[in-house]
């Protein structure tokens, strides 16, 4: 039913573009909510590491499918598996080990990609890694749209239920712990939500670019929001604007959709940043 409404709203006649437009709307909700936590909790490097390491699972899945005939282990499942494992490793190290967090982030990032590339190159059938790295929003199927609807439902429900706890843990983890909040649990929940979002959203913009939609619209929204839920709402709208504009431009000029979406977002962010710097200098000189 949700999809029927979105089909009716689509300004595109082309069915591929219509699916892409619906995917853009649905994914903007995930990006807006989870991305806001990524920005305020300052875990964008963790999100980047999770995104890149998911190539390990994708490579493993392709290898198992084409070399060993294990067809049920799809690349999506492989990416989900490796992203959740990466989130768990980084989360546990961050919470309990005395290792440097940035070192572990870098190791997980590089090792995940290395595993993925090794498996892809050992896969018997030719596989175009580009679609995983940069996304294929134009080839989103109706069943994948339903998966994104389910993800939206999970993320909205969890964030509404645990909003206060997640806000407290994001703002001041130590104080939250003193108030009896099981901060380890909520931190891992946040990382799992981030991993889940990254994997499913990588279908749209690819694992190399997904991080951009998790931080750019949220960074812009942060300039206009004084509450976290406002930041989520505003960043969802910005994300929707960027994905729709990027889709439209890529459609008109026959460009790759993923990078075009990211360049739209990055361009607006840079313009706003320059405007802010210019305005601050102007006020200071007056």
């Amino acid at each position: 039913m949700i999809l029927d409404v979105l089909y009716a709203l689509s300004p595109f006649k082309n069915p591929l573009m219509t699916h892409a437009f619906i995917a853009a709307i649905l994914s903007s909700i995930c990006f807006g909510i989870v991305g806001s936590f990524v920005v305020v909790k300052r875990i964008s490097s963790i999100a980047g590491s999770i995104a890149h390491s998911s190539l390990g699972g994708i490579g493993l899945a392709l290898f198992l499918q084409y070399n060993l005939g294990i067809l049920w282990f799809s690349p999506l499942l492989g990416a989900l598996f490796s992203a959740l494992v990466s989130a768990l490793i980084i989360g546990l190290v961050s919470l309990f080990a005395s290792q440097r967090e940035d070192t572990v982030i870098g190791v997980v990032w590089a090792v995940g990609m290395a595993i993925g590339l090794l498996f892809v190159t050992q896969t018997k059938r030719y596989t175009d890694a580009m679609s995983y790295l940069f996304g294929e929003i134009l080839f989103i199927s109706p069943s994948e749209l339903l998966i994104i609807v389910a993800l939206d439902a999970v993320i909205i429900s969890l964030c509404m239920i645990f909003y206060n706890k997640l806000l407290a843990v994001s703002f001041d983890q130590e104080f939250a712990k003193l108030r009896g909040v099981r901060v380890e649990l909520y931190y891992l929940l946040l990382l799992f939500l981030t991993a889940l979002t990254i994997v499913l959203m990588a279908m749209i913009v690819g694992i190399l670019l997904v991080i951009a939609l998790l931080i750019i619209p949220q960074a812009i929204a942060g300039m206009f929001s004084k509450k976290l839920w406002q930041m989520m709402l505003v960043s969802t709208l910005f994300c929707l604007a960027f994905t729709t504009a990027g889709l439209y431009v890529s459609y008109i000029y026959n460009l790759y959709a993923g990078p075009t979406i990211i360049l739209c977002a990055g361009g607006v962010y840079l313009l706003l940043l320059l405007f802010t710097v210019f305005r601050n200098k102007l006020f200071r000189s007056v």
Binding site: V40, R42, I161, F162, N164, K165, L167, A168, S170, F171, D172, E174, F175, A176, K177, L178, R179, G180, V181, G222, S225, K226, K227, L228, Q230, M231
Partner: protein
């Protein structure tokens, strides 16, 4: 008379990364006292607070807060961390920050009407009654510090731990801030880490000097020689009373 002691250290040793910070130190802070903790950077001032909070475990010895293990006494401790540890751009209002002090063990962490009223009362107590809806990022350094104190107060503590509360406060608003501390001291024990020996000196009864060891002096016994000896080089003492001016910063 055990219950009259708010914080007790018995032969407490603590090391950080194989670096011995405290060796068999003893400490007793009486309930109702106002104690300031001074010492050079890296000497262990914040570590002392974190030990009292039960966030760090001593290598040996025993720590008791109101006669209990620090973890069990946490609900009676209000804690104001160093101001610099907060993200100034975090999208949160002053009221939301204070409400975090009412967060309990419930699964969702939702707040009821009483929690909101308590949070508003705490904001009023620190002189920020009208600041609840203002974004944390839009407040001045002094106001943010008072919001963090309100967050500690809303927990209804018997012991208040302050980590360098005057580090971001303008000299012009320092007097107002001292007045807030004076009011709070009527109701609770206060332990305050500071770099500034003269800050709120008329309230402070004892000074804990921390520099890899720990020594407690009455305020009157804190001479220039004692301070120079602790810091390891010559320090200048600046009198505060002459530079404080009462001024509204709301």
């Amino acid at each position: 008379m055990k219950e009259q002691i708010a914080v007790a250290f018995e032969k407490v040793s603590f090391s950080y990364n194989n670096h011995l910070l405290f060796k068999a130190v003893d400490l007793a802070v009486e309930e109702g006292g106002f104690v300031s903790v001074i010492g050079p950077n890296g000497g262990g001032k914040t570590t002392l607070l974190r030990l009292i909070l039960g966030l760090l475990k001593p290598r040996s010895g025993r720590i008791r807060v109101f006669g209990e293990h620090p973890k069990n006494a946490r609900t009676r401790i209000g804690y104001v961390a160093q101001y610099s540890s907060f993200d100034e751009l975090f999208p949160v209002t002053a009221l939301e920050v204070v409400l975090m002090g009412r967060m309990g063990n419930s699964l969702t962490g939702s707040y009821n009407r009483r929690d909101r009223q308590k949070a508003l009362d705490s904001l009023a107590e620190v002189g920020l009654a009208k600041a609840g809806s203002i974004a944390f990022s839009e407040l001045s350094g002094g106001q943010r510090q008072r919001v963090l104190i309100a967050r500690a107060l809303v927990t209804e503590p018997r012991l208040l731990l302050l980590d360098e509360p005057n580090s971001n406060i303008d000299v012009a608003v320092e007097r107002k801030f001292v007045n807030v501390l004076e009011e709070l001291h009527r109701k609770m024990t206060i332990i305050m880490v500071t770099h500034d020996v003269g800050f709120a000196s008329h309230l402070v009864r004892n000074v804990i000097c921390v520099n890899k060891t720990l020594a407690v002096h009455p305020t009157s016994g804190l001479t220039t020689e004692v301070i120079n000896d602790m810091y390891g080089h010559r320090m200048n003492i600046i009198q505060h009373d002459k530079i404080c001016t009462p001024e509204e910063d709301e």
